[in-house]
Amino acid sequence: MKVISSGFIVGDRIVSLAFSTHPDWSAGFGRRNGFSFVGASAIGKLHLRDGKGREDCFLIRSRGDWLLLLVADGVGSARLGGWGATLAVAFFAEELLSMLSVEEGETILFERRRPRGHDLSLSFPVVGEGVGTLSWYRPVKYKESAHPIDEKECIAWVTNAFEKTHRFLLGIAQKENCSPGTLATTLLGVLFHTSSKKGVAFQLGDGLILEVTRKESRPVVVGREFEVGETAVLTQSNWQEWYQVAHFTWHVDTKAVLLMTDGVADDCLYGPPHDLLHRFGSDIVKELKRFKNEEVVACRLVDWLGHYKAPASFDDRTLLALYR
């Protein structure tokens, strides 16, 4: 086994069942092997009005050359949907990454580095004051235990992690003496190997994983079509019937891959205008590349998610982007 580079964690993690510990607005960012990534999640207008917490969540983790990007939408009608979503991404990531590598247990000490020379003077208008939190989990060294990239094996890992996460959620529901549907959540993600530029994308439930190229923007996973107001969730017994997984290769003309929950997907999948999806994808890429500093991009992204106006768009909004 060789020691591979460190892993990091960015995004939402479980803290408490007793009450919502999600920040209402959350953003993360980073870079690995020439790929940049940002993620942001903003509470929806309805949850704000009703004094509820954000039920979307996201998580970005790495192991060596691997990047794992996950979004989940805790279903609004489920009592603990937001908690279910956070549990799902945390457990799923742990399961999947443990198939790729094992922790060596050595914490890497932070190296102090100079700021990149940008003045990050953005305040966060949602709050109205320059208030916010930046936090990091310590990076840890890992030993590689799997050899990329066997596409079939990747799909098997992902499917296995889904199955285990499904069982985990059922176990939690039993322990908490509630029905599994109480923790109902979707789960979408991309497992991407930054050196070989290959990976898999997977989706259970509504939302969208979108590849943006110069000429077009297309769903990476052609998921099941849902009627409005319906979705599939990880806690349902027949989740496999709704689960979609596909190989993914970063082509020369790929500009970005975007993952989003339905709060954003519903605002770009259906027009008018008739070419909305590509316009949306191209505009997002343009905005991602407007600033070189991912911190700035992440701040702008969460601010935009918290503020943009679209007809009858009230849900939590989460968007992750992987780009070069």
């Binding site: 009005r49 953005l122 208008p125 409005v228 008018p272 505009d283 343009k286």
Partner: protein, 230 residues
Amino acid sequence: MEEEVIMDVTLSQGLRHLPVYLLLDTSGSMTGAPIQAVQEGLVLFKREVEKDTFARETVWVSIIVFGREVLNLTQGLVPIDSLEIPSLEAGGYTPLGGALRLLIDSLDRDVKKPVRGGEKGDWKPLVFILTDGKPTDDWKSPRNELLMRKERKVLNVITVGCGPDIDETTLREIAIGPSFKMDADSASFAAFFRWVSQTVKSVSQSVSQPQGENIPTPMPIPPDVLQYIP
């Protein structure tokens, strides 16, 4: 100095509607206080739903009456803030089957299904049927058509019977979802329309339902005056 952060991203301009159908019995037996109470209930319904910012943006309503005539009084679905409360008149029999036919026509004509790359689809319609008697025409065929629809599906047909002449078994058979019974006094009608308003507001703000299957939309607990028919 604060910097305003604006991203310039093209977004959907399509509006998603929640279609709400009120099928109201205006047969002869509703003459007098009951029809007056229904009329007042409609005013209350409009006022309550309009008050809600989110519902006001999404709720579209159609009022179909069945009595001496079967009419779609709103000529299809209209935005809640444009809804003009029609003047109701009672008379004739109880042709519920005809009303269901008008409902099907409107579902086909006025409710949009989602088309990727095309327009946003509407939410699944909510259908409330209020009657004080037994249907006097063939209601089973159109009811089966509703049940078998593959697109623009209807999963919520709530029946409410009022007064002493209702047939609980028939009410239950008509419904796709729960059935209730209540008295035919003005307080009961007011409570019914208040519950309809709450249901509409609640559904207009609901996000996706789990299962990806055909399950009815969860609704607020009805008031005491509405007794569930098992």
